[in-house]
């Protein structure tokens, strides 16, 4: 049943990839790790849940509403929590991000309660059967959406003017500012895109594993962080491939090594990556000037 294991690994990995894209974009451009990213996913899931189940809207309204809400949420978080710390130490920003993460979790706990809810899948693609292998529609959609988003992001960054501004800010923020690029707006845009992607990831994740609770985003967020580091943080194709590889490794180690150790194995990958190749698979070597 290797093929079955492989496919369930790829579908899990595609979710990690979508989340990792958000981490990697924000890190690449704002040079900060947004640990609240996993919780934006949870918010995205809850918004879609509220629109589709509680308010009975159609799937498309739920999806679009959730993306719009998360985009605004991302911009707001950046404005309130991170922008005042633009010139503060990296540690201060990181701790703030963890604070935002707790804030979102506890807010969800307050509004939606601690009980996890059953999420009705918003994807209505039938199951595909090839011989003995069955692939759920959600898996197909998740993979397709991930690939589309990676291609779209690469085009956006390499072809558009805003994308060029992002690249410039990522390379040298001070120089970019001197060249007349509005750094604050570029970083806001990055957060907007990252959080919009988080909404998509949240909807697809909750459709595939149909449950949502205030802590839904936490573990996937950390796994996706590993995927981003493994693929080379700051690299968009790296996040995609890192995510899929981590998903496959997690599932194969569950199947063939031990279902008890699979999380440990995933975290060992993070440590090994940091020891052997801290820049990850696709990361650029950074020569820091002393």
């Amino acid at each position: 049943m290797f093929i079955s294991y492989l496919f369930s690994g790829i579908s899990l990995g595609a979710i990690y990839a979508l989340i990792a894209l958000g981490y990697t974009m924000v890190y690449g451009i704002a040079k900060m790790l947004n640990f609240a990213h996993g919780d934006v996913i949870m918010v995205g899931g809850y918004i879609a849940f509220t629109l589709s189940v509680t308010l009975g809207q159609s799937a498309w309204i739920a999806i679009i509403g959730s993306i719009v809400f998360c985009t605004l949420l991302g911009i707001t978080i950046e404005k309130i929590a991170y922008k005042p710390l633009r010139n503060a130490s990296k540690l201060a920003v990181l701790i703030t991000a963890i604070g935002v993460s707790y804030f979102l979790q506890n807010l969800a706990l307050l509004i939606f309660g601690s009980n996890s809810r059953n999420f009705k899948s918003l994807v209505s693609v039938p199951v595909i059967s090839i011989g003995q292998v069955t692939i759920p529609g959600e898996t197909v959609v998740t993979i397709a959406v991930s690939v589309l988003i990676v291609v779209g992001l690469l085009l956006f960054i390499n072809k558009s003017k805003s994308g060029a501004a992002m690249l410039a800010v990522s390379e040298d923020r001070a120089a970019a500012e001197l060249m007349g690029i509005n750094v604050n707006r570029t970083i806001s845009l990055t957060f907007a895109i990252g959080s919009g992607l988080a909404a998509v990831a949240g909807i697809l994740m909750c459709s595939q594993y149909p449950s949502i609770g205030p802590y839904t985003g936490q573990m996937p967020g950390i796994k996706a962080f590993i995927a981003a580091v493994f693929g080379g943080i700051g690299s968009i194709p790296g996040a995609m491939i890192g995510g899929v590889v981590i998903g496959i490794i997690e599932n194969l180690s569950k199947a063939y090594i031990s279902s008890q150790l699979s999380d440990a194995i995933t975290f060992v990958i993070l440590i090994l990556t940091l020891v052997i190749r801290p820049t990850g698979l696709f990361g650029k070597k950074i020569n820091e000037k002393v």
Binding site: S8, L33, Y102, L109, N118, K120, Y209
Partner: protein, 401 residues
């Protein structure tokens, strides 16, 4: 380069701390319960007898603590409305422990400061194992509604309402072989949870004794886990006659959904943690069709005392109570019965005097509760029989064979 490495190391530490502090939430919780009790003190000449409660009101295990708090409150309101116990009014002082052992000990100190004389708690096993040491030192009578690990009541002052983990594992194996006559079982359990792994270990031992072959034992880690496809594929390869799920209903709901999506048709069998699975499936209740479980309490039980509790709970909180709420409700009535048996009429007696009297009293009483007819053994275990239930047409029905 060096800086970059150092920063990543830092971030790793941060990532791990996010993971390990996940259970933390806000500190302050419900102290209002004790106050509201004190206001009625003047009305009742016997004074107010404060029952302490400890359990997670926030954090990932909050669902259990909230259920216990609510179930206990309903029992207390009923008892007070009917005139109290031996002329005393009961009050509940419930403190949050966020399912954390250290915070639970702090919560215990708080309820003591607030004048609690007995403890209903703690709700979850790990904190309970820490708090029982403290109640033992103070000689406080403790009864946990739902702390099911063996060590949760390791001292003579501690009792419980629910089944212990080992007794559930043993009972499940005996039921599968004895009543259902099946010999090939697979298991999915949560190896990060004492409840789940405790039941599994005992089940495995008893299964061997009974001649049940465990063809596949699959684990997962923690309530965050949402992907069970791999475990299900492995189990399907092993072709078991029954799949034993000694886990809580949230994970079980996901397993049912993913199993159906993958086109498998297993027979599932679970313990009391599975109660609530129909509610969790929210509309997809058909998925739970044929799931069997051993449990002391089902909300659909037509018995009169069960239905009056379920209706009171629904009226107050707008949801169907789970077994934790039922255990807490029974727990308060057990405290009442023990107070009556020991003829305690003075709420100002010392904690250890009340404790000594209640410890003797509880061993001599039999309580008809909504989770069954309860008696207590010397080691604090509750002696009652689990009921075999099967989910038929979306409702729990007793298994008749």
């Amino acid at each position: 380069m060096k800086n970059f490495k150092r920063m990543l190391a830092l971030l790793m530490v941060a990532a791990l701390s996010v993971a390990s502090f996940s259970a933390c939430g806000d500190e302050e919780q419900t102290t209002a319960a004790a106050d509201s009790g004190e206001t009625t003190e003047a009305a009742q000449e016997g004074g107010t007898f404060v029952i302490g409660g400890i359990g997670p009101i926030t954090g990932p295990a909050a669902v259990y603590g909230i259920a216990v708090q609510r179930g206990a409150q309903i029992a207390i309101d009923e008892i007070n409305a009917a005139g109290g116990v031996n002329g005393m009014t009961l009050a509940l002082d419930f403190q949050d422990d966020e399912h954390d052992a250290e915070k639970s000990v702090n919560a215990y100190n708080t309820i003591k400061d607030n004048g609690a004389k007995v403890l209903l708690g703690t709700v979850t096993s790990t904190p309970c194992e820490a708090v029982v040491e403290k109640t033992f030192e103070d000689g406080m009578f403790q009864i946990t509604p739902s702390g099911s690990s063996v060590n949760a009541i390791c001292h003579e002052n501690a009792f419980r309402i629910c089944f212990s983990d080992p007794s559930q594992g043993t009972a499940a194996a005996q039921y599968i072989k004895g009543t259902l006559g099946l010999t090939k079982a697979a298991v999915i359990y949560d190896n990060s949870d004492v409840y789940s792994s405790g039941i599994y270990e005992k089940f495995a031992t008893e299964a061997q004794a009974q001649g049940i072959e465990i063809v596949s034992a699959q684990a997962f880690s923690g309530a965050d886990n949402k992907d069970f496809n791999t475990q299900l594929i492995a189990i399907n390869d092993a072709q078991p006659e029954i799949v034993f799920l000694p886990i809580y209903y949230q994970a079980a709901a996901l397993i049912l959904q993913q199993s159906q999506k993958a086109g498998y048709s297993f027979t599932f069998f679970g313990c009391d943690g599975l109660d609530g699975v129909i509610g969790q499936l929210e509309g997809d209740a058909a998925l739970a069709e044929g799931v069997m479980l051993l449990t002391p309490f089902v909300a659909d039980d037509p018995a009169e005392n069960v239905q009056s509790f379920v209706q009171a709970y629904q009226a107050a909180y707008g949801e169907v109570p789970n077994q934790f709420a039922a255990d807490a409700y029974d727990g308060i009535y057990v405290i009442k019965a023990a107070l009556e048996q020991a003829q305690i009429t003075d709420p100002t007696m010392s904690v250890s005097d009340i404790g000594t009297a209640l410890i003797e009293a509880i061993k001599t009483i039999t309580v008809e509760g909504i989770t069954g007819t309860m008696k207590w053994t010397e080691d604090g275990e509750c002696d009652k029989t689990p009921k075999g239930m099967v989910i038929k047409d979306g409702v729990y029905t007793a298994i008749t064979q």
